[in-house]
């Protein structure tokens, strides 16, 4: 199964949830500031990559975890992925999760400032504050999502 976390931008809430799901961030312990800084650097570098699937890792059930920036087109992308996947007989199941409502307004604001290349230092502070505030919430949401996912079906040859 491919699990795709979709945010307005790929690198804020979507990447955070994907990283929690893939085990890059451990939900029970808060990451070091070095990790958060690295995450912020990802936001600076790839925040404007809309529509690209960013591979984050595998979870314990060997589901592939991706993050993607959908701008405001999540429903259109979800339907296009699902239908084109069926048309082209992509046998792997796709599971889209809309993160844009969970991450709040701040990532959009920070993303806008970063895209314009202004107030980077302010954005860094805001990002740390946002990360602190949302980490536990996203951890819970990822656990909830994981519970909702079905375990992968085993092929007959196994």
């Amino acid at each position: 199964m491919k699990v795709i976390y979709c945010g307005y931008r790929a690198t804020f809430g979507a990447y955070l949830m994907a990283a929690l799901h893939a085990g890059i961030y451990k939900g029970d312990q808060f990451p070091s500031s070095q990790f958060i800084k690295a995450h912020f650097d990802i936001c600076c570098l790839y925040g404007e990559q809309y529509g690209n699937l960013i591979y984050v890792g595998l979870d314990e059930n060997l589901n592939e975890i991706y993050a993607m920036g959908c701008n405001r087109f999540f429903p259109v992308i979800e339907r296009a992925h699902t239908n084109i996947g069926r048309m082209l007989k992509i046998d792997e199941e796709l599971h889209h999760i809309d993160v844009s409502r969970l991450e709040g307004f701040l990532p959009r604001f920070m993303g806008f400032l970063l895209a314009c290349g202004i107030k980077v230092e302010l954005c860094r502070k805001l990002f740390f504050w946002w990360f602190n505030r949302k980490y536990k919430f996203f951890t819970k949401m990822v656990e909830w999502q994981k519970r909702g996912l079905k375990k992968p079906k085993r092929s007959s040859s196994d």
């Binding site: 809309y50 690209n52 993607m68 920036g69 087109f73 429903p75 259109v76 239908n83 048309m87 992509i90």
Partner: protein, 160 residues
């Protein structure tokens, strides 16, 4: 051979018209009458809640499956998202083509489409879209002709 998507904003008018020209449901040498547009399958039918769902229109003489697709104004996001999925699924991108049907859309078509699909007044909007498309019909025929020529050249290149 592959899959070709004609895409536009709502997936109800220009993309469906282009796909119909491609499949010879509509003539190349003259501007069709109103009843001919109304007879096209899926013309002015796509609902807003289904945008992103491809509509299968038929298979052309070269073996390409032709679809109409509505992407709102998000083609710069949705098309990379589709290509990205194909990429990670190991599907050859050259077999999937996207052609924008939004070539010089007449404002009447846009207003008619909004009236019909968004406001739910097809008896006002549909004739406006047909009127608008008839005005730009030669441009749509030209687009489809160029697409077909490109596909033909590609096939010749692959066969030789």
């Amino acid at each position: 051979m592959g899959i070709l998507f004609y895409h536009c904003y709502g997936g109800a008018h220009t993309s469906v018209t282009c796909a119909s020209i491609h499949l010879n449901y509509l003539p190349h040498d003259r501007i069709p009458e109103t009843y001919e547009f109304k007879a096209i399958p899926f013309y002015d039918k796509m609902e807003n809640s289904k945008l992103g769902t491809p509509l299968y229109m038929g298979r052309d003489d070269l073996g390409w499956d032709i679809y109409a697709l509505g992407l709102k104004d998000g083609k710069s996001v949705v098309i990379p998202a589709i290509k990205s999925l194909l990429n990670v699924s190991g599907i050859y991108n050259r077999d999937v083509l996207f052609v924008s049907a939004l070539v010089q859309v007449n404002p009447l078509t846009a207003i008619g489409g909004f009236t019909s699909r968004k406001l739910g007044l097809p008896f006002i909007g549909r004739p406006m879209t047909i009127w608008g498309i008839r005005k730009t019909y030669p441009l749509l025929v030209d687009l489809v002709t160029r697409v077909k020529e490109a596909l033909m050249q590609d096939r010749d290149r692959l066969l030789t």
